[in-house]
């Protein structure tokens, strides 16, 4: 049983990745050879540097990191603020606004892609176009992650009101209470929300495909998709391998936190 599982898992999940890294080392002739070689007979590490420069992988990876980081910052600030207000400050009609935000969870993002694209292309009243700017990723990412607000609000609800009352007696305003009392207690849920924010930007395809038409501004997904047409097979495979390395390494380092965060988030949700 154990041996069988090991073989099947290695074949299904490890071998495709191995084949990708090995394929990136093969020459154009070797990569289409029948029968295929299990190990590259004359490794061409140069493929990887060609892919790096031809496909401009450095810029694509940096763009994606920049978008993900910004989306993370905006979501943390806006979502934490909103969830804190819904949970503790409770302004009039706060429940209605929260309901409006949660109702968006029922609407598939793919249905809203077109009108959201038109709105981002020409904002109401001011008629600015956000296309090909980082804002077009950052601001809509807040609206597409209502789930994070729900998670944060439910966590804040579990923080006893007495703690905040004590802070208020000591003269702390709402912002100070949030910063010094609520946030230090909320580290686990902040981790979960951060993972969602970064992963969503990293994996999103349809939205950046519509709004990042400028080659210099594209994410790794869109860049790979556009560049795939002109690249020889072995260089493209090397580019795929390079594109996969950062997230896989990141995952291997932080896997414990990521896995526990993901399961906690999805089960609680």
């Amino acid at each position: 049983m154990f041996c069988l599982t090991t073989v099947v898992f290695a074949l299904v999940f490890l071998f495709p990745l191995y084949w990708m890294f090995a394929g990136g080392l093969k020459s154009p002739q070797e990569i289409i050879q029948i029968p295929p070689t299990l190990l590259p007979s004359h490794p061409h590490p140069g493929n990887y540097s060609t892919a790096w420069s031809e496909a401009d992988m450095g810029r694509l990876l940096w763009n994606t990191t920049f978008y993900a980081g910004g989306a993370l910052a905006f979501q943390l600030v806006f979502d934490v603020g909103a969830a804190y207000a819904f949970s503790k400050l409770r302004p009039a009609l706060g429940g209605v606004i929260l309901f409006g935000m949660m109702a968006t969870l029922m609407i598939p993002t793919s249905v809203l892609a077109l009108p959201t694209y038109l709105t981002a292309n020409s904002l109401p009243f001011v008629h600015w176009s956000l296309l090909n700017t980082p804002w077009v990723i950052w601001l809509p990412s807040v609206a597409s992650n209502a789930f994070s607000i729900v998670l944060l609000k439910r966590f804040f609800d579990s923080i006893p009101a007495e703690l905040l009352a004590a802070a208020s007696i000591d003269g702390a305003g709402p912002l100070r209470a949030l910063w010094s009392v609520v946030l230090p207690m909320s580290r686990p849920i902040l981790g979960v929300v951060s993972i969602f924010a970064v992963v969503n930007v990293w994996k999103d395809f349809l939205w950046p495909l519509l709004v990042l038409t400028n080659t210099a501004d594209q994410t790794i997904n869109i860049g790979l998709f556009q560049l795939s047409v002109g690249l020889p097979e072995n260089i493209l495979i090397a580019a795929l391998a390079i594109a996969s390395i950062p997230t896989i390494v990141f995952f291997l380092i932080f896997q414990r936190n990521i896995m526990s965060g993901l399961t906690a988030g999805s089960l609680k949700g």
Partner: protein
């Protein structure tokens, strides 16, 4: 859906809490100031939602009743767009493709992660390493994974699958080009490989919650592995299984990346969301695209409603 259950639960809590606070009223001035601070905290998120969620939703509904010409002028056309897409053969082809994809994904993408989790749960050691392996594809950028599999599916000698077949002296297969059903199946297999990690993780976490005594009891009663799974594991995980089923149907009905990147819509693999994209950006027909979007929204909400109706009795257990 899981999320919709929350809506009811959280708003119920909200209503009770506000009723409680209404009984003890603070002076008006302090109350106004407190409300003001509250709104200030909500402002950032509310602007984002208004611009990129609430307003587009209204606009989607309006646009589905309008026609936009090349000069950008809009005219009210009533149900014309809906009539037009219902008469379009590609509309029905797109629904058939999405339905077939969902059907195959129910057999493969739903069953395989659950069985994988059950098998992993039976293992005594190295479970964490297997969990890591299953999750690796999820961490790849989706387009990189899709291109990798497009390469595997290549019909000529350079595809991994055909290379394997020819090494075994078997004839090669036109994976994506021959039959429509086979092409959709290939997309589902890729999709399952790329996405099953997160489902396996959730099932594994849920399996930890199944009390061990139940297994011991069934073992004493002489139940085999299959019977144990069917009579103990499945009933214990009924709630999470039905939730995942619902979430999966909603997400597979919206499949876009797989056909767009791997087949480019060839061989009848244009899905519903792909068709929306085509209407909007290939034909610049925003009216038809919006109308199809509304139809998709209604269908998905129908699924959610049926699910809620079926799930309610389970919830109360």
């Amino acid at each position: 859906m899981l999320r919709t259950i929350n809506v009811a639960a959280v708003t119920g809590y909200e209503a009770r809490a506000s009723a409680r606070s209404r009984r003890r009223r603070a002076p008006l001035g302090r109350r106004l100031r407190a409300h003001g601070t509250g709104y200030l905290f909500i402002l950032g998120a509310a602007i984002c939602f208004a611009l990129f969620s609430w307003y587009p939703m209204v606009r989607e509904v309006i646009m589905s009743f309008q026609k936009t010409n090349f000069a950008g002028n809009t005219a009210w056309v009533g149900l014309e767009n809906y009539r037009h897409i219902f008469a379009d053969p590609s509309f029905w082809a797109a629904w058939r493709m999405s339905a077939l994809f969902t059907l195959f994904a129910l057999v493969l993408g739903y069953l395989v992660p659950f069985l994988t989790a059950v098998v992993l749960n039976e293992l005594r050691h190295a479970r964490a390493y297997f969990r890591l392996l299953v999750y690796l594809p999820v961490m790849m950028p989706p387009v990189a994974a899709a291109f990798l599999w497009r390469w595997f599916y290549r019909a000529d000698g350079s595809g991994l699958f055909n290379q394997t077949l020819s090494a075994l002296q078997l004839p090669s297969v036109q994976w994506l080009q021959s039959s429509h059903a086979l092409a959709v199946l290939c997309l589902v297999i890729f999709s399952t490989w790329a996405n099953m990690g997160s489902s396996v993780l959730i099932y594994l976490a849920a399996l930890q919650g199944v009390p061990g005594e139940l297994y011991e009891a069934s073992e004493i009663d002489g139940a085999g592995v299959l019977k144990r799974i069917w009579h103990v594991t499945v009933p214990q995980m009924r709630l999470i299984l039905s939730l995942m089923l619902m979430l999966q149907v909603v997400s597979t009905m919206q499949v876009f990346l797989e056909p767009y990147v791997i087949t480019g819509g060839a061989n009848g693999t244009t899905s519903v969301v792909y068709q929306i994209y085509d209407y909007a950006f290939s034909f610049n027909n925003y009216g038809d695209a919006s109308a199809l979007g509304i139809v998709l929204l209604l269908v998905l909400m129908g699924f959610a409603a049926v699910y809620l109706k079926l799930a309610r009795p389970v919830e109360e257990v």
